[in-house]
Subunit: 421 residues, 2 copies
């Protein structure tokens, strides 16, 4: 862990609501995003969330333009320096309060955008409980494939359809084929699901042909967002052999607007996944003592559902990224081990994170056993998969004794009916 | 077919070598690219290949900047108009010769770049002979999976590692596991292969949630390049279940620098793949009479190999895109059928195109039966897969009785040894 004065839990901000007990954005967090004032004709630009406000980064003479890619590209030491600067400027001891106040925009008046222009999006499969649950549906006796504990399995995802929280998601159409049907048909998906993931945003890139070593990997990560990898299970089931998921997932992926930086997450680092004595040791390029000791991240993730009949959302699951079989550093080292280049703003999804217990399962596929055991909701309704009008809301937070609790905001989306033609 | 005066085979250019019998870039071609003069400090910008020259598009007051994405975004009718303008300006009848001559750069002095900034790269699997050959290696009795003749199978590829012809390719390292080995090891790939493909560059995009109908699909394609989807077969074999190819292909993909526009290809349109009476009809969203009649493209593709011991390259295969099971329009309609958005500059690979005969197989995996029958080269050498120092050179051309013959230039790359650490 690399802690400094910015992580001091006693630190307070002159933005009063930053101290509210349930505030996701205390001065220890300082997540970055792209915003403008709703309804104003003005360019989108970088801001930092503090309490119930957004501080325009131009107040500190930081001109990001419409994405944070430039900040991401600067690398970890520049990010750390900027964090200290932001922390000092926003602390109760700051002498800049009067000047900076003019650059505050109430979060309620802010319109938030994708924080980065995403070049490539990879999605991993690091949730071993999820991989086991999904495998069990197809291969009850042998749920995990032989490569799972050796290879941080991943695939390339679709970048163009990544949207920011709040964007409505249209139910996709596609080829569907019931196992006993003679032929597929083209129709709206009937098995629309979400997946609870984290997204890691690449910072400084590497040159093509020059892998990033495991011990350097975290220097190439800018920060973390919540990620919902919407999935049409019926489209996916029929299309995915032999090349993997394609249209079953490429219709939309939702991320949260605030990038919680890797430095903000330092206090919540934890040991890597505890392998059993029967599990193989990672190969040397994926093994590093420091990474095993505290390369994990204890980030809690919740998924909530609000059907059109509900006044308040109902929580469906709560999981934790500490259940990931691979660390962020292992994902980065693996992704680049063949020389593949990361570019600032690239997105690396964790894959669905489920815990061992059913109330931590990160998809409806797992919660309902592929639709066989529908969820009984408090509203009296049932759900096997998502229905039109349903809104799902993903939240995240880090809490640790002796440190501030920080939040991730939310990644939400409501299902619109499929296109009529 | 939409033919106009630009396709007239009798048309000649005032650039003399454009009429040479083996010239790939006669006035009927007019492919677009991004270039600068080698060794000069000047910005890269758009040009058109004509004979042995590049005409700087600034001569016609077309300022592309460092990519052709802006031109691609304008759509097919603007592209058609520009083609006519270029054709007139370069024809022997042009009165602009004197003025334009100042904007010619000999191709030998030109440095060529990626023609577009590629957002998303999808790679299809439309070569039915390739799919059958590959499937037979794993499932001799049942080589094609049940979805193949219904779904234009594809997967998302890696965009960041797409390089332009001439870029050296470093042999990747990765996890390798022989079927009888107890555990994988991390080492340089021993089964490095190429794949002969075409790449279709998206023109005008579509909005997320709004599919492109089959009959409109070609309005969203800017042009075609050669594409070599380098593949490390041993990395791929161990990693690809259940999510598809990842590091086995993400280390490099080579494309040719000249975009042959869809309008240049009009004379070489041909019927879609002739399905047998036992093959299913495409589902309605993939079926259109006009597309069946002339949605195919007769583009010949060759792969050549030059080992360090050879003076001149040896041809390994010659195939034709008319053997693709799916048309370009079907690829575009399928890719967007779930609402996924295409953006100008996106790349859609065809997948490896092999014909029915062995001399048309588009990968070494097929030519050598997975390495079991090494190629006997004219130099006396043998090859199961590519060795360090080998250069592979992909070429393409369209020839049709009564029309000019046009070429694609080349997509070449030489293998560098794996990184030492």
């Amino acid at each position: 862990m690399m802690l400094d004065e910015t992580h001091d839990p006693a630190l307070e901000s002159w933005v009063e609501l930053a101290q509210a007990p349930d505030c996701e954005f205390p001065i220890q967090n300082l997540p970055l995003g792209i915003f403008k004032r709703r309804g104003h004709k003005e360019p989108a630009r970088g801001g930092v969330a503090i309490g119930d406000q957004i501080l325009d980064l131009v107040a500190l003479d930081i001109r990001t333009g419409p994405t944070l890619n430039g900040l991401a590209a600067m690398g970890r030491s520049a990010a750390r320096k900027m964090r200290r600067e932001l922390s000092r400027a926003l602390s109760v001891k700051s002498k800049q309060k009067k000047r900076l106040q003019k650059h505050l925009v109430p979060m309620k008046q802010g319109e938030l955008f994708l924080p980065v222009a995403i070049g490539d999006y990879s999605d991993f499969f690091t949730g071993i409980h999820h991989a086991t649950n999904m495998g069990r549906l197809f291969r009850p006796d042998n749920p995990l494939l032989p490569n799972y504990k050796w290879v941080p399995i991943g695939y390339h995802g679709r970048g163009s359809s990544i949207v920011v929280s709040g964007t409505a998601v249209r139910r996709p159409k596609g080829q569907l084929k019931a196992p006993d049907a003679a032929a597929p048909s083209f129709a709206a998906s009937r098995r629309l699901d979400y997946e609870v993931e984290l997204g890691f945003i690449a910072g400084a890139g590497n040159r093509l042909g020059q892998p990033i070593a495991l011990r350097d990997a975290l220097d190439h990560v800018f920060g973390v967002v919540l990620l919902n990898d919407w999935s049409a299970r019926d489209i996916q089931a029929w299309e995915y052999q032999p090349l993997g998921p394609f249209l079953g997932k490429s219709f939309a992926t939702t991320i949260s607007p605030w990038v919680v930086t890797m430095d903000a997450l330092e206090p919540y680092r934890c040991p890597a996944f505890a392998r059993s004595s029967e599990d193989p040791q990672p190969l040397p390029y994926l093994l590093d003592e420091a990474d095993q000791r505290d390369g994990g991240l204890a980030i809690e993730m919740e998924m909530h559902l609000r059907t059109p009949k509900m006044k308040t959302p109902q929580r469906l699951s709560r999981g934790n990224f500490r259940d990931s079989y691979w660390t962020v550093a292992q994902m980065v080292a693996h992704q680049t081990s063949n020389g593949c280049n990361l570019q600032p703003g690239d997105l690396l999804g964790s894959g669905t994170i489920s815990g061992p217990a059913p109330d931590s399962f990160g998809s409806m596929m797992e919660l309902t056993l592929a639709g066989k055991n529908p969820l009984q909701l408090a509203s009296g309704e049932t759900r096997s998969f998502l229905e039109d009008g349903d809104e799902v809301i993903q939240r995240g937070r880090c809490a640790r004794e002796g440190y501030a609790t920080i939040g991730f905001g939310e990644a939400s989306g409501r299902i619109m009916p499929a296109a009529s033609k």
